[in-house]
């Protein structure tokens, strides 16, 4: 079984094969001598690659997981071949948007632009308060505010669409 594993943005191929009751692992086409034991059913794992030892924990589901190795947390997406094909088709179908998204959960305490405004790159769009800190959310590109998805006082989740900016037509 072949898997495509994306770790913090870069994708690697991992292959699993059961031969004579033993599990064999290939990483980027190379055989790896792997020891794998689940310490409990909650994601603590003893992982040995060749003789190298990793005390690992995993949170998440089969496809999207956070893997903690020596205090570093990696965001990992796992796709098998079928899933990868399906996702690739999906990505191809969707268009590029100019959405400004929230990178964290918070509350919109101040809206500084409205629909129709022209904004410069780096201009403040709104103030998002999270964990008692106020954060200025700025425009990553110049353009016109096409849609404001949020209202003042609204709580938003991580990844929520805040404002849609339409790029200026090429001069």
């Amino acid at each position: 079984m072949k898997y495509f594993v994306t770790v913090d943005g870069s994708t690697h191929e991992v292959e699993l094969e059961e031969r004579l009751g033993e599990l064999h692992v290939r990483f980027a086409g190379e055989d790896v001598d792997v020891g794998f034991d689940e310490v409990d059913r909650l994601g603590q794992i003893a992982l040995f690659l060749a003789d190298k030892s990793y005390g690992v924990s995993i949170e998440g589901d089969a496809r999207n997981a956070f893997v903690t190795v020596a205090g570093h947390v990696y965001r990992v997406e796992v796709e098998d071949e079928r899933e990868r094909a399906a996702h690739a088709a999906q990505r191809k179908g969707g268009g590029r948007g100019g959405d400004v998204k929230s990178v964290m959960p918070g509350v919109v305490v101040d809206l500084l632009v409205q629909e129709g405004d022209e904004v410069e790159e780096g201009q403040s769009l709104l103030i998002l308060e999270a964990m008692k800190m106020q954060n200025e959310i700025t425009a990553a590109q110049a353009g016109r505010v096409k849609r404001v998805h949020v209202t003042q006082g609204q709580a938003v989740g991580s990844g929520a669409r805040l404002i849609h900016i339409e790029a200026r037509p090429e001069a």
């Binding site: 079984m1 898997y3 594993v5 770790v7 913090d8 870069s10 690697h12 991992v14 699993l16 599990l23 692992v25 990483f27 790896v32 792997v34 794998f36 689940e38 909650l42 994601g43 603590q44 794992i45 992982l47 690659l49 190298k52 990793y54 005390g55 690992v56 924990s57 995993i58 949170e59 089969a62 496809r63 997981a65 956070f66 893997v67 903690t68 190795v69 020596a70 205090g71 570093h72 947390v73 990696y74 990992v76 796992v78 990178v103 964290m104 959960p105 918070g106 305490v109 101040d110 403040s124 103030i127 308060e129 999270a130 964990m131 008692k132 800190m133 106020q134 954060n135 200025e136 991580s158």
Partner: protein
């Protein structure tokens, strides 16, 4: 005045746990208070008594003075320890505690007021001949006025909340065009955090270090300092790593800074534990230090001082609040070795240190020689946005600075908090940086660093672990499915067998 039998801790998280630990060691019962959100919290479970405040927001719980005073009354607590944050620097609360006939584990309300307002504190320090950073003492109306004043003092400028603390309501302004946005967010943050939007400005020093002195005064006029803490490793004006001693402070400088810190505290009639923060710079060729502010409470980073002095600062706070004399002088205080603290915050260092939320599913603490873990975290804990993102503090001691750095690297490698991202990879990057190791750094160190790097072999490990975990979960589900059926057949057989045995027994009679 005898030592307290019972105290209430008006706080949550690691500092509430920290305080109840010392109380227990002193034979004092501790009363925890907890919000709805915290009804499973460690501080409530470890305390002797716990009173529900209800509510989820701070304003409905840990900031609600009436509820807290009622809880103290109901449980017969004789004193209130506020920890840090929440009501710790609220003079009105300190006064209400004293008016209720309880002991306030903190300085006199007037000292909180004077030092709590940056503007009055700068004024009173100038009067006491304590050196302050050049700047404007009066609050500034608006961004336009700030631009005028900034031109006189010279850029870069620091905008600061008059009521500020904990890095909130601070903005650095490097040029005129940044002033308007900075003024707005600083003032907004100040209003939201402290209910007071007043802003003042001062010169922002070149290559400054943040060095602070821990002081302790009893009610009888005796005061000592416990040396310095180096707190220059910051991001967003919040400290990440602290250590004691500072690599740039020698015995003579320590004595000089200690003397000034004691003068600063005496000028406001200080009692209890407090911290005098200084900005230090050697940009002019000789070491200079300027009064920045005084924190009229226990600091987050107090453990590094405890580790090098052997003195339990919470114990001293409680002794002083109960009216005891310190019983020792400056010469009795000895410093041993080196201590480093790393704050473990729920934040994503690869994404601008923005908050990270989630449920802590896995938790493996570091341990072993000279490792101290101060934490309020437990497996199953939800990390939300209502409260401060600090989850825990790790503190390491060693005979020398390099030993402490290596011990902290090892400690961070052992830590595993699964379910939220934490800032520890950034701390590790600092500990491994040449600038930090050489001791030659300033408050810009962390912001100038790339902390988003990944480790090749760890990426491989993470990828393989995730695939195997997926595979093994699928196997388990498949087995469980078969197992259910097999188990059902097994149970059926066992029941039949049991009946047969009983029948045989009856025949044998």
């Amino acid at each position: 005045m005898a030592m307290f039998q019972r105290i209430l801790i008006a706080n949550r998280g690691e500092i509430a746990v920290r305080i109840l630990r010392t109380a227990r060691e002193m034979g004092i019962e501790s009363v925890a208070v907890y919000s709805d959100f915290d009804r499973r919290a460690l501080h409530a479970r470890l305390a002797d008594r716990a009173v529900a405040l209800g509510g989820a927001l701070p304003s409905e719980s840990y900031l609600d003075m009436k509820k807290i005073l009622a809880a103290a009354k109901r449980t017969g607590a004789e004193a209130i320890h506020p920890g840090y944050g929440f009501l710790a620097e609220n003079a009105a609360f300190a006064r209400a505690v004293e008016d209720a006939g309880l002991a306030w584990v903190g300085p006199p309300p007037a000292a909180i007021e004077t030092m709590g307002d940056k503007i009055t504190s700068r004024r009173s320090m100038q009067a006491a001949d304590v050196p302050v950073v050049p700047g404007i003492v009066d609050p500034i109306e608006n961004a336009a006025a700030a631009e005028v004043e900034a031109a006189k003092v010279g850029y870069p400028i620091a905008l600061k909340a008059a009521a500020g603390g904990g890095g909130k309501g601070i903005r650095i302004v490097r040029s005129k065009k940044e002033m308007e946005g900075a003024f707005r967010t600083a003032s907004g943050e100040a209003k939201s955090a402290f209910g007071d939007g007043r802003i003042y400005l001062e010169r922002y020093l070149d290559r400054p270090r943040h060095i602070e002195i821990q002081v302790m005064f009893d009610r009888h006029g005796n005061g000592v300092h416990f040396g310095e803490r180096e707190c220059s490793v910051q991001r967003r004006h919040q400290k990440l790593i602290e250590e004691s001693p500072s690599p740039v402070v020698d015995e003579a400088l320590r004595a000089a800074m200690g003397r000034v810190a004691l003068e600063a505290a005496r000028a406001v009639g200080y009692v209890g534990a407090g911290t005098v923060e200084f900005l230090y710079t050697a940009a002019s060729g000789k070491p200079e230090f300027f009064f920045l502010e005084m924190n009229t409470r226990l600091q987050v980073e107090h453990p590094v001082t405890e580790m090098v002095t052997g003195i339990d600062l919470v114990r001293e706070q409680l002794r002083v609040a109960a009216g005891e004399e310190l019983g020792y002088g400056q010469d009795d205080i000895r410093f041993h070795g080196h201590a480093i603290e790393v704050r473990v915050n729920a934040e994503d260092p690869t994404n601008g240190f923005l908050p990270s939320t989630g449920t802590i599913q896995n938790l493996r603490w570091p341990g072993g020689p000279w490792v101290r873990v101060d934490s309020g975290v437990y497996r199953g804990m939800e990390v939300g946005l209502n409260y401060d993102p600090m989850l825990a503090k790790l503190i390491c001691w060693a005979p020398d600075r390099m030993g402490a750095i290596e011990r902290m690297r090892r400690t961070l490698a052992e830590l595993n908090i699964g379910g939220v991202r934490t800032g520890t990879p950034a701390a590790l990057a600092v500990l491994e940086s040449e600038a930090f190791r050489s001791g030659d750094f300033d408050t810009h160190l962390l912001e100038s660093m790339d902390v988003g790097s990944v480790r090749g072999d760890e990426v491989q490990a993470a990828a393989i672990a995730a695939v195997l975990h997926r595979w093994s979960s699928a196997q388990r589900r498949a087995l469980a499915h078969r197992g259910d059926r097999a188990g059902w057949l097994e149970r059926g057989r066992a029941e039949l067998g049991g009946q047969r045995e009983r029948s045989a027994g009856e025949v044998g009679r």
